[in-house]
Amino acid sequence: MCPPPAPAISTDGLTKRYGDTDAIVDLDLTVPRGSVFGFLGPNGAGKTSTIRILTTLTDPTSGTARVAGEPVSDRAAVVDHIGFLPEESPLYDELTGREQLEYIAGLRGHEDWERVESLLDRFDLSADADRRVETYSKGMKQKLGLVQALLHEPEVLILDEPTSGLDPRAARTVRDTISEVAAAETTVFLSTHILPVVEELADTVGVLYDGDLVAEGAPAELTDEIASGGTLEDVFLDVTSERPAEQ
């Protein structure tokens, strides 16, 4: 009998401290492969710190984390398996949209131009692909950032506010794309403040508050247990109501 596959993301006692401030405290998290994990929390709760550790951009103060089975201390191994869209799309203003994607595809060693064109088309970027990124609107940059995160068909897709700045049509495209990649066994770690998006897409939701994971479970379970059949927003407000949300 084969052992069960390792989870896509797991953290054990993960702690991050900046000076005297605890950003994350003893975080234990398990995200199964092929699932969509909605990561919620008020501003300053520690979401970005968690994401930066999972993407190897910063080291934990203590504890361990693994992404796609690789420890985050092994940066080279982790970046091979992940696609990442931070809150501000990491793009170069001086390049055209197509050049940006060709560059990332080249760095990834995944020069599949058919896929590039198909993703550009899907996100309505084909007509603007040869314009410089500096001329793009915020929504277009966000879409291009998502395309470059998806290019190499990563095992784990980590998205920080992917629908921020998008018009309803583009936001719909992003949500559909997330559903599709999840159906194709890609694990999606989705951090957002737009709760209906999480409610629609996530298999599991985790709510971080003051660095602690204060609620975790399927959206339906959480709404039943905590908000007595209310919405995810009710759950969020309930579990983060003890102290002021803004840190």
């Binding site: 080279a76 990442f84 793009l91 990332i104 760095l107 950032g145």
Partner: protein, 536 residues
């Protein structure tokens, strides 16, 4: 730490260089810089090639000590220049990847670092390739010979690459210290502004003292650092050449490149992933600052807060007004005279005072509208009249400007042994100009506003427009001309007018009247323009 992947590093370098090229061609300033730089480098290369062709033979006939001195000086100069330029570049922009969150989650950081360093080497050689080629061809075609030309070419390339690695490494160290030290983090803007000013001034001061350079060079030629000169002497078939020294120097130079690369990799791993210290800016509502004590109750609240805001922004980010130090560079010639001859020029007190006045005027008022950046809509819709707003900007420049001008004029005047009457006139003139210059600047600043940001030391800053600078300095120059000329005639005793009280008095009166007139016009125009400004 792993060995970088060559393919990825070259891809990163290619894109970095393409971005640099497009940035340069994307603005008029960049295109002019590129054209001007290209022309200067071409002319310099022609001169260097011609010198190598016709004078290269002197190397053959020179005594070994002169060759050693020249080689060591050239290597030191090239290494220092390349390292300094790269250090500045690394601290300002290339010391970490742009869009780092994307690049560092796409490839291992070692590949990114290697790409950035290769791109930096590419930029260095974009400037050095033509002069090096001209030098090599000149030496090879002239009586110095092909052997010397090859040694010089290979040596220069290795030294330039080493300089790039040293500069880049020092840039990473600077960034690491800035991100880890609370003191540096809190004052990094001030430290950066000071270093930016101190380095060119220090360099200019050093180049004015040839004896000091020669002394340093002689010390170096007695150390193993000059052993590379033995390689040149070997190529010249000079009997005093030491092959062992030449071999050791060549191995050390070539070996320092991988060592420098490893050091840069190690430093990048620490710098790029460091959690930067965020300095606290504590706010105490009851605290009375010096500016509170000076202004509260004496000017309207709106004027006071505009002035205080200007000072606070400058304190936190001096780079936003760095252009204002430009007038002080006009004092370099007189500073050189002080250093070289130990004599303070009699005109120095007034010129120093006028430089201070020009700086005070330019610092806060030369772009009243654009300087507000994204806050401009809020400023225009807040309950601040045009007069209150412009008064705040004028106060922001005039108050510290008056203090600085007094200190400078009196200090330099005492050092120069200026007679009391002349010193009094210089001080009065400089103070009147200091107080009115911000109003003159405000007038030209609203006439030629600039809203687009420019990159200054890697930071996007809205600096005043070129036309505002020109307009301001024309009006400023016309206003200070009578007192300036009178002072010059008096202290230099030109046309036998030295010590004539009517001359100094007349010049001062004319300048006072002109400054007050121009200041009043500039102030009214600026206040009216701010009050009626519309986004069209």
């Amino acid at each position: 730490m792993r060995r970088p992947d060559g393919h990825r590093a070259l891809l990163v370098a290619r894109i970095e260089l393409r971005r640099t090229w497009r940035k340069l061609l994307g603005t008029t300033r960049g295109t002019l810089t590129l054209g001007g730089g290209g022309l200067m480098i071409s002319l310099y290369s022609l001169a260097l090639g011609a010198a190598a062709l016709f004078l290269g033979g002197a190397l053959v006939e020179s005594d070994p000590h002169a060759v050693r001195l020249a080689t060591t000086g050239a290597i030191g100069g090239l290494l220092g220049l390349v390292a300094f330029v790269t250090l500045q570049h690394a601290v300002k922009s290339t010391g970490e990847p742009d869009a780092a969150d994307g690049l560092l989650t796409t490839i291992p950081y070692e590949d990114a670092l290697a790409g950035l360093v290769v791109a930096e080497v590419g930029r260095v050689f974009a400037g050095l390739a033509l002069p090096l080629l001209a030098l090599t061809l000149g030496l090879a075609a002239g009586s110095a010979g092909v052997g010397v030309a090859l040694v010089v070419l290979v040596g220069s390339v290795l030294v330039a690459v080493l300089g790039t690695l040293v500069g880049y490494g020092l840039g990473l160290v600077t960034k690491l210290v800035a991100s880890r030290s609370a003191v540096v983090a809190r004052h990094r803007a001030s430290i950066g502004a000071f270093v930016s000013l101190a380095l060119p001034v220090g360099w200019i001061a050093l180049t004015t003292v040839p004896s000091m350079q020669t002394r340093v060079l002689r010390l170096v030629t007695r150390s193993p650092l000059s052993w590379i000169a033995d390689a040149v002497l070997l190529a010249l078939e000079n009997p005093s050449a030491d092959p062992v020294h030449a071999g050791v120097a060549a191995i050390a130079l070539a070996g320092s490149l991988p060592l420098g690369s490893v050091a840069c990799l190690w430093l990048a791993g620490r710098t790029w992933y460091a959690d930067p210290i965020q300095p606290d800016h504590e706010f105490d509502a009851d605290e009375r600052t010096l500016s509170d004590r000076l202004l509260r109750g004496r000017v309207s609240t709106a004027t006071r807060v505009v002035a205080q805001k200007s000072w606070l922004r400058t304190k936190r980010a001096p780079i936003t007004v760095q252009y204002a130090v430009m007038p002080f560079f006009f004092l370099i010639y007189q500073l050189q005279t002080v250093v070289l001859e130990g004599v303070v020029s009699p005109t120095f007190p007034l010129t120093a005072g006028l430089a201070s006045a020009a700086a005070a005027g330019a610092a806060f008022s030369l772009n009243p509208l654009g300087g507000e950046e994204s806050v401009l809509p809020l400023t225009l819709t807040a309950n601040v009249s045009g007069r209150n707003f412009v008064s705040g900007l004028v106060l922001a420049g005039a108050l510290p400007g008056a203090a600085l001008t007094t200190v400078i004029v009196v200090g330099v005047g005492l050092a120069a042994g200026t007679p009391p009457l002349t010193l009094g006139v210089a001080l009065a003139t400089a103070l009147v100009v200091t107080v009115t210059a911000p109003a003159i600047a405000a007038g030209t600043g609203v006439a030629f506003p600039k809203f687009e940001s420019s990159s200054v030391q890697g930071r996007e800053v809205v600096v005043p427009s070129g036309w505002a600078f020109v307009g301001y300095f024309v009006v400023f120059g016309a206003a200070v001309a009578p007192a300036g000329l009178a002072f010059l005639f008096s202290v230099r005793d030109l046309f036998s007018l030295g010590g004539e009280p009517w001359l100094l008095g007349g010049g001062l009166t004319a300048t006072v009247l002109l400054c007050l007139g121009c200041g009043a016009v500039g102030y009214s125009y600026a206040a009216n323009r701010v009050a009626t400004y519309r986004f069209d």
